[in-house]
Amino acid sequence: MNWFTKTFTSTIGRKVIVALTGLFLCLFLVVHLLGNLQLLANDGGKSFNTYAKFMAESPLIRVVSIGNFAFILLHIIQSVILTMQNRQARPVQYAIVASNASWASRNMGFLGSFILLFIVGHLSQFWWQAKFGAMPTIAIDGVQMKDLYLVVHKAFQNPFIVVFYVLAMGFIGFHLSHGFQSAFQTLGLNHVKYTPLIQKLGLAFCILIPLGYAVIPVMMYLRSM
């Protein structure tokens, strides 16, 4: 192995990959949320559909989204390898465990697995549909485009789907509650002056972002009633 592979197959190296990809995904969450909040614009989907069209056609976004998928994959692969290594590090379990650590920090794998499940569902419901499915179309300002807004609107008339989404956002919130600040720690960014700030930011992030996402299906459901 050369130094590079050695670095990124070490425990710290793998963690760094998880942290870096995790932070990128945090950034993605922000951008994705900003775009999706247009679903609440109350303009019959005009701004949202325009945005969706731009996203689908921009070559830059295409590159970024491939990167995004790759990072999700990397995040998962490294986490799974680490989890397996970590299990092997304690072949015999304790009879009693009374840990002082937070619940989320001890259950990132479980949270992550549920989030993966959600992502698969979410993608097949909207992304797959928009890309490969039979989509209704709409003309906005004389331009014919796919009416993704309608698909979303329909989906969120189903209370089960709304509950599923809200629940998933809860899981993401817990995942972030540990993941956000943990990523900084893994990257070695710990300082008496700035760490308290990062922790506060992490707390705000893990509450506000999932909340922002959860508002969308709830609002759309309420409006459709």
């Binding site: 130094w3 963690k15 720690q185 070695g188 710990n190 008496v192």
Partner: protein, 249 residues
């Protein structure tokens, strides 16, 4: 006070162990936890049974030899060493479950005794400053700010007991390794070997079969010497910088 103990008994490294139940009577709240074990062992010996093997030495909280996992916590419910845990932390009639440290890198030797030589091997991999006896300049030749000296001291107070590994759900040794790396990387004397040290110590840590740190903080919460989690961030940073910039390929 009267107590029920469930203690891990295992004849040797190769045999299977199990929790066995013992009852101890008339325990004074002033006793230390290990003295309670002394009492039990004296009884067992007179009954012709094998006393429970456990590690201990200084019994004043500094040698780091004692290592019992008590009711789900390394060193028990207080943030201290097992030898400094006193029976007044328990109530009459309590059931106390006592297990050895559990980690692949800390195999059980007998009963509650585990082999922690992996820690020694990590130090041997680089946890030192290479200075032969007699080579030292005057002690005051290199001033070190009080803040740095104090921070280095705080990291250096690690007693190598392994409670961090025992507490961590991943059996990770990062707090132990980071304490030594942080101490030596802060001091001017430690600069020369700074990169090589962290690379070699982390490689050794991985080779010994410890898990990875997932920043749960359980280690620092249980550490009897209150070694800070910030050291792990320092270790991560030192490692990444070393890997990116050192001359060792």
């Amino acid at each position: 006070m009267n107590l029920t103990l469930k203690v891990w008994r295992q004849k040797n490294a190769n045999s299977k162990g199990e929790l066995k139940t013992y009852h101890v009577k008339d325990i004074s709240p002033d006793m230390s936890f290990l003295e309670m074990f002394d009492v039990l062992n004296e009884e067992l010996l007179l009954k012709g049974e094998d006393p429970i093997a456990f590690d201990h030495d200084c019994r004043e909280g500094i040698c780091g030899m004692c290592s019992m996992y008590i009711n789900g916590h390394p060193h028990g419910p207080e943030q201290t060493t097992t030898c400094q845990l006193h029976m007044r932390s328990f109530k009459d009639g309590d059931t106390i479950v006592v297990e050895p440290w559990r980690a692949k890198a800390f195999p059980v030797v007998k009963d509650l005794v585990v082999d922690r030589s992996a820690f020694d091997r990590i130090i041997q991999a680089g946890g030192y400053i290479s200075v032969n006896t007699g080579n030292a300049p005057d002690a005051n030749e290199i001033p070190i700010s009080k803040e740095v000296a104090d921070a280095a001291f705080n990291a250096a107070t690690c007693i190598g007991c392994g409670a961090c590994v025992a507490a961590c759900k991943n059996a990770s040794a990062m707090l132990f390794v980071s304490a030594k790396v942080a101490q030596l990387s802060m001091l001017p004397q430690g600069q020369i070997e700074r990169k090589r040290r962290v690379e070699q110590m982390v490689a050794k840590m991985d080779e010994e079969g410890f898990g990875a740190c997932t920043n749960t903080g359980a280690c620092a919460a249980e550490c009897p010497k209150e070694i800070s989690l910030a050291n792990i961030a320092i270790l991560n940073r030192e490692y990444l910088i070393a890997k990116a910039t050192s001359e060792y390929v």
